[in-house]
């Protein structure tokens, strides 16, 4: 068995046990066991319709699983509502970017602080000192995150008016604003050009290095998956068909079959990647 080159492989941040999600007659996710260790980047890959996004939606509380459990830092979070799960420390982005289009970039990022603040109706109407201090804290964090993704100059622009690549980064900044322990990214590189993808990889490696965060990723860009993952889990038809370090997954016969179908003649269609 390949060794997991995680940074602190002993601590599990997220664990799913026998996770199953059924839509009508379709078993979208079939008994998935997943273990994400602290400080690693785990990539979930697989062909279209493999059930990757469904796993994300169950973990982030958008769907309730039929069977199985989700544990986050020791707490059972199965079936909790999305807003409760964010408060637990899991922040996510969406495959098709979901910003608040007619609000400014700054307001978008401030959304991430909502679960970390508490001001109510009366303190907001009467502008109590506590409320004002909290608002300043929200603004500071939003500024920090906007600067981190180089969007501070666009702070007063509407989110719908900035470039596509910037919108992707803005969504990540919004997720990071909640200071998550686990960042769940659904195809962050889709729609990005190679240069932007490289910047994104460097950015993700940077936050893994500098912050107390773990990343769970769905990704189709194989260069990115192989370049930054510590561990790769492959899904097909709702099942987990393989997992391992990127190099092994790259050469795994089952994975190649899942992507390309069975073919006796040409199974070496991929170039074997250079050492990372």
């Amino acid at each position: 068995m390949p060794e997991r080159r995680a940074h602190a492989a002993d601590e599990t941040v997220l664990e799913t046990r026998g996770l199953t999600k059924i839509f009508g007659g379709l078993i979208a996710v079939n008994s998935i066991d997943l273990k994400v260790h602290k400080g690693e980047i785990l990539s979930l890959i697989g062909p279209n319709g493999a059930g990757k996004t469904t796993v994300f939606n169950v973990v982030s509380g958008i769907y309730r699983p039929e069977f199985g459990d989700v544990f986050f830092r020791g707490d059972r979070i199965t079936g909790k509502k999305p807003h409760q799960i964010v408060a637990h420390g899991i922040a996510r982005t969406f495959q098709n970017i979901r910003l608040f289009p007619d609000m400014t970039c700054r307001e978008n990022v401030m959304a991430g602080r909502h679960c970390r603040s508490t001001s109510g109706l009366f303190s907001s109407v009467f502008r109590t000192p506590g409320q004002r201090a909290e608002e300043n804290k929200i603004r500071e964090t939003a500024e920090k995150r906007l600067r981190q993704v180089n969007l501070w100059k666009s702070r007063d622009d509407l989110a719908k008016n900035i470039a596509y690549g910037s919108q992707r980064m803005l969504e990540i900044a919004r997720a990071l604003a909640s200071d998550p322990a686990l960042l769940v990214l659904d195809e962050p590189s889709s729609g990005l050009n190679p240069r932007e993808t490289r910047d994104l990889m460097a950015f993700l490696q940077g936050i893994i290095r500098d912050e107390d965060v773990t990343i769970l990723l769905i990704e189709h860009d194989m260069n990115m998956v192989m370049g930054i993952s510590d561990w790769v889990v492959v899904m097909d038809g709702g099942r987990k068909i393989a997992e391992g370090i990127p190099e092994d997954i790259y050469a795994d016969q089952r994975v190649i079959e899942a992507y390309l179908g069975k073919d006796d003649e040409d199974t070496t269609a991929y170039d074997v990647p250079a050492e990372h």
């Binding site: 982030s60 958008i62 509502k81 999305p82 807003h83 964010v86 408060a87 922040a91 996510r92 969406f94 979901r98 910003l99 608040f100 289009p101 007619d102 609000m103 400014t104 700054r106 307001e107 401030m110 959304a111 991430g112 602080r113 909502h114 679960c115 970390r116 603040s117 001001s119 109510g120 109706l121 907001s124 109407v125 009467f126 502008r127 409320q131 909290e134 608002e135 300043n136 929200i138 603004r139 500071e140 500024e143 920090k144 600067r147 981190q148 501070w152 702070r155 007063d156 622009d157 509407l158 919004r174 997720a175 909640s178």
Partner: protein, 333 residues
Amino acid sequence: MEQTPLTGIGKLASSRQLHVALATAVFLLYPFMVSNYYIDIAFYFGIYTLLGLSLNIVLGEVGLFDLGHAGFYAIGAYTTAILNTKFGIPILVLLPLSALAAALFAYVVCSPIIHLQGDYLLIVTLGMGEIVRLALINNPFDLTGGPNGVFGIDFPSLGPWLVIDSSLEYYFLIWLIVGLTILGLTRLQDSRIGRAWNYIREDETAANANGIDSRSYKLLAFVLGAALAGVAGNVYASKLMCVSPESFSFWESCLMFCIVLIGGMGSIPGVIIGAAFISLFPEIFRPFAMYRMLIFGSAMMLMMMFRPGGVWPRKRGAVKYESLLEGTGRTDA
């Protein structure tokens, strides 16, 4: 050392203060220059502004279609009317009570329907407004007086020394309430609650995924909107000295809807303009009264075609925010 994020908008703030000061001066002087008739028109302008502001929370800030808002207005007015005529409770004491009654009603009625989206919610709230009106007509427990309504409602008074019984005093009462409401709502807009409402309007799934409990915030909008409509009902009931079901028809809900749509969803100045249009226009063009619906209808259609955001939409990003971190050495964090 207190950091104020508003230092960069000093100029804007002072020009805004100037506008507010000018508007206040006009409102203070206006009633002393015109006859009682025009003071009453300004009073109804105030009532519609308050109703528009209350619906604006639900429709403008959160984007929930509520076409039964007259129901909340009616609950407030009838709470005042019944408790005052039957038990002699003073009108000003009933002001918060009417708000509370309307809010409670909204909480109970909206809890089971709050998950409905778009048009579905519109239909259900429309039904709710009609049920309230029909219930009032049917005179339950001999309380509401049926189609005739309740009459003999007192003037608001603070003991014997301040009795609000003239057009002038009502004018000041309603605009004082409107002014305080605008102050409170402006502050709410720029708080985490106002933002949460807007996030839900923009994308509810994304809002949930960012930690906003959309259900609670939608309910809060309904409850707060209903409370303000209840306040308007209280003032309206005591001004007219009687209430009857026909004052709270579907048409009233439509007018409130128009106020918010014409003015600009989620825009407080927009609501004032919309209310002015709805309440002043028919008075100014009295001779064309029979064409009122025609003109309103065409105006709405033209608005939707050429200015879908309303006359005065809320402009986001107009206030430039300065850095809080620059100079603190944390900008490269």
